[in-house]
């Protein structure tokens, strides 16, 4: 018998159809019933219009989409042998705003998804309100808006740089929001200062705290999540940033990656119509996101946790929370190092001179985001978007399970629904 479960609050909706084997999940398929046709909309439009349209694919990671678009356009210029002069300052501003978007996403995920979902599996005391997540996220988006103008849906990047030309005033403003956010994170989530937390090398040290993070860690252990939710133990990271290293990993061995091996395949969903497609690398499924980034980046505490608990639901959750800490520190450094007198933007040749293909790859909050564009005299001939959820939450046959399908196998339906959310799912991005 097949049971249908509705999953909400993932920027839209998804459904999971479970085939049970007694009390445990034998097989599950996933369907995403929404579609807007963003790629089709982009066809025939001025290539610069992508900078306005793609951020609107998603209300929570629109900034990553903007960055992927601008990188795709820049790569098209480079393919036409036109130089793109991107100042270090412009790169730093782009990266800072991307970091802030990832941080607000993770923060909301902890307080609006993870804790309420844990609460469904076991009684939780002393656990805080969703307002906590909203407050921290608002600080991050204010720091972000200091450079990008607004959040969500900012469009302040252009090929060759960024439109903002911040003064010390903006930097100080952003710094003060960031410091407030770090203090909030230390007091409300960690229960210890950021620096000490970042020096932690094992989960025992997390356990020694008395705070939201230690309570989350304890709950995961008592639910046995360190022994459940395993996917393939294969990871991909494509985005080139100060906080990520493009590579592919099988267990602990890492290999180089090339975007030409990425392919797309229709989802398998016999029970219900779905608009989603699965993303593969060399015809295999890989997990992407914070755990993948921490593994390829050799973050000591996550490597240690992985040694014991592999790619369990536990590892996935702790990696996402830990990533907030390391990104906050990275963001502080970026603000400090930013040389404000550098050029913000150097315009390349006019867009109508551009006939080329381009690819833009970014580490979005939930993992690898790829935009591919083909441009003819400045007009978009073809546009393709591959989002993180397409990597993690694909739906295929029982013979070739996707990471989430594998992770949900062999546990109860309630546990499976929790494990589903440990990947941090975005419905609107998936189908776009």
């Amino acid at each position: 018998m097949i049971t249908k479960q509705l999953i909400e609050q993932i920027e839209g909706e998804a459904t999971v159809h479970f085939t049970m084997n007694g009390n445990t999940v034998d097989f599950a398929t996933v369907a995403f019933p929404h579609f807007r046709g963003m790629e089709r909309i982009l066809q025939g439009k001025n290539a610069l219009d992508a900078l306005v349209i793609t951020p609107r694919v998603c209300g929570i990671c629109g900034h990553a989409h903007l960055m992927a678009s601008v990188r795709a356009l820049e790569s098209a210029y480079v393919h036409m042998s036109q130089d793109i002069q991107l100042s270090t300052k412009a790169q730093m501003i782009r990266e800072f705003t991307l970091l802030m978007e990832i941080v607000q996403n993770h923060y909301k995920w902890i307080y609006l998804t993870l804790i309420p979902e844990l609460g469904k599996l076991m009684p939780l005391s002393n656990m805080s309100t969703p307002l906590k997540g909203a407050f921290a996220a608002s600080l991050a988006s204010k720091a972000l808006a200091s450079f990008s103008g607004q959040w969500p849906h900012s469009s302040y990047m252009l090929p060759g740089g960024v439109t903002c030309d911040p003064t010390h005033m903006e930097r100080i403003k952003a710094q003060s929001y960031l410091r407030e956010l770090i203090a909030f994170f230390e007091n409300e989530t960690l229960g210890i200062d950021l620096e000490t937390f970042l020096s932690f090398e094992s989960c025992k040290e997390i356990r020694s705290l008395s705070s939201d993070i230690s309570r989350i860690e304890q709950s995961l252990l008592s639910l046995g999540m360190h022994e459940k939710g395993f996917a393939y133990d294969r990871f991909v990271v494509f985005g080139n940033h100060g906080f990520s290293v493009p590579s592919k990993m099988k267990q602990t061995r890492s290999y180089s990656v090339k975007s030409k091996y990425v392919s797309i395949k229709d989802s398998y969903s016999p029970q219900e119509k779905t608009f989603a497609k699965n993303a593969l690398y060399k015809n295999d499924y890989y997990e992407t996101g914070p755990l993948a980034r921490a593994m390829t980046n050799s973050v000591p505490i996550i490597r240690n946790i992985h040694r014991r608990f592999k790619d369990s639901a536990y590892s996935r959750v702790v990696a996402r929370i830990f990533e907030i800490a390391s990104l906050l520190q990275h963001a502080l450094e970026l603000l400090k190092l930013m040389e404000l007198s550098e050029t913000s933007l150097t315009m390349p040749e006019p867009i109508h001179t551009l006939t080329a293909e381009g690819i833009g790859i970014v580490e979005a909050p939930r993992g690898v985001l790829i935009h591919k564009v083909s441009i003819e005299e400045g007009l978009i001939r073809n546009y393709e978007i591959i989002t993180p959820t397409q990597w993690n939450i694909g739906s295929d046959t029982k013979e070739s399970l996707t990471p989430v399908q594998l992770a949900m196998q062999g546990v109860t339906q309630e546990e499976a629904l929790f494990i589903f959310r440990t990947f941090d799912v975005c419905s609107v991005c998936t189908t776009h």
Partner: protein
């Protein structure tokens, strides 16, 4: 439908779009009486399910009574009411949990929910929105699936003909509505909207998708997405466009409803005049540069470094009605023009197709709301756009002459 939208646009600058901020003492005295009676009546009612007290929450967030009253007087001003209404507005805010609001999400990116209910908190506007939404918002309430549907049914039944329905997202009409379904029974977005709006007191379309179809409706409109006003008939409807819409404007609408029991005065595109009665251009911080003929001629030039006017690199501020030049975004931290990228006109119909990003408005071949087609600035100077159009023509042309000289100098 296209004819209708074009027709509506012709009304864009008609008399109905004019803002009247002084209607005389007699009018305001009568209104005051009505509001007072209504507030007193509301005070005697108890909220159905919502047990949260706004005063407690404000205190929890460290917001003092003084801050709250300051906020109330700002909102009074925003709603274009005399300052004597401030205590009533404050009372209305405290009665926010008596305003039954149901919030549904259709074909969208969740951006408005993100902007409004989650990311801008918790200042007063956002706390208020959290309160009203806690029991009725599909996205953030804890119940899901059948339980959520039951809750929705209950809310619709209890507040029959009294609730405000907030709609986020467009309605995809293609493929018999199969591009977007919702809930355990896979109801299409269209059916969902029709069912829930049937007994709403009024419907509020939030964001550009719900108002005009938004980015999903961009050419060639693959899912045949339309806005609420294209399919919903016979219901009071308020449009709060922009991508994302601004929380302050939403709170304004709700408070106005609590205060008067009516929807606020609207323009010809059904937008509340208190928020959409002025152009971005009217209150833009870069307006002085426009008046002085100082423009950014190309991205990243000296003009850009000096925060000059962005009109010539495509800013749509002169023909976009919205209050973001005053209230800005992310709790007033910044706004697009503040980072030198110009307005994209996201609160106007068709911005996704017509108000293309970078192309100067003069080159975009935009059909102006008044019916005239713009000429290329380099060839003819600007045609009349709106009332501000005359000014634009003169200033852009003046700076153009200077630009031409430089160009020939380089060559």
């Amino acid at each position: 439908m296209a004819d209708r939208i074009e027709g509506v646009k012709k009304l864009f600058t008609s008399k109905s779009a004019r803002v009247d901020t002084n209607r005389g003492d007699a009018h305001y005295e009568r209104l005051f009486q009505i509001c007072q009676t209504r507030i007193e009546a509301l005070k005697t009612q108890t909220p159905q399910q919502n047990r949260l007290h706004i005063d407690d929450l404000l205190e929890d967030q460290g917001i003092s009574r003084r801050d709250f009253m300051k906020w109330a007087s700002a909102v009074t001003g925003m709603l274009m009411l005399p300052s004597s209404f401030t205590p009533l507005v404050a009372d209305a805010a405290l009665l926010m949990n008596r305003a039954p609001v149901i919030w549904i999400e259709l074909s969208d990116c969740a951006g408005n929910t993100e902007a409004i209910l989650r990311s801008d908190g918790p200042k007063i506007d956002e706390i208020l929105l959290d309160i009203i939404s806690l029991e009725f918002n599909e996205t953030i309430m804890s119940a899901s699936g059948h339980q959520a549907e039951k809750q929705l049914e209950d809310a619709m039944h209890t507040f029959k003909d009294k609730y405000l329905l907030f709609v986020e997202g467009a309605i995809p009409m293609g493929l018999d509505g199969q591009y977007g379904t919702i809930g355990a029974h896979a109801e299409t977005f269209y059916d969902h909207l029709m069912r829930i709006s049937k007994h709403a007191a009024a419907v509020v379309a939030v964001g550009s998708c719900a108002t005009f179809g938004g980015v999903p409706a961009a050419s060639p409109n693959p899912t045949q997405a339309v806005g609420v006003m294209d399919v919903l008939k016979g219901k009071p409807l308020i449009n709060i466009p922009a991508c994302p819409a601004n929380p302050a404007n939403m709170v304004g609408v709700i408070i106005h409803y609590i205060l008067t029991g009516q929807i606020p005065e609207l323009d010809s595109l059904l937008r509340p005049k208190f928020a959409f009665g002025y152009r971005i251009h009217d209150n833009c911080e870069r307006r002085a540069h426009f008046d002085a003929g100082e423009f950014v001629e190309e991205w990243g030039d000296d003009g850009a470094k000096n925060n000059f006017c962005l009109y010539k690199v495509g800013c749509k501020g002169p023909m976009t009605f919205n209050n973001c030049s005053i209230i800005r975004y992310n709790e007033g931290v910044n706004w697009p023009i503040g980072v030198g990228r110009g307005c994209i006109g996201c609160s106007e119909p068709d911005f996704w197709d017509k108000y293309a990003y970078e192309r100067p408005m003069a080159d975009a071949n935009i059909k102006a709301p008044t019916g005239g087609v713009e000429k290329t600035v380099d060839e003819f100077g600007l045609g009349l756009l709106t009332a501000a159009g005359i000014g634009i023509g003169i200033h852009a042309a003046a700076s153009l002459a200077a630009g031409k000289k430089e160009e020939s100098g380089e060559a």
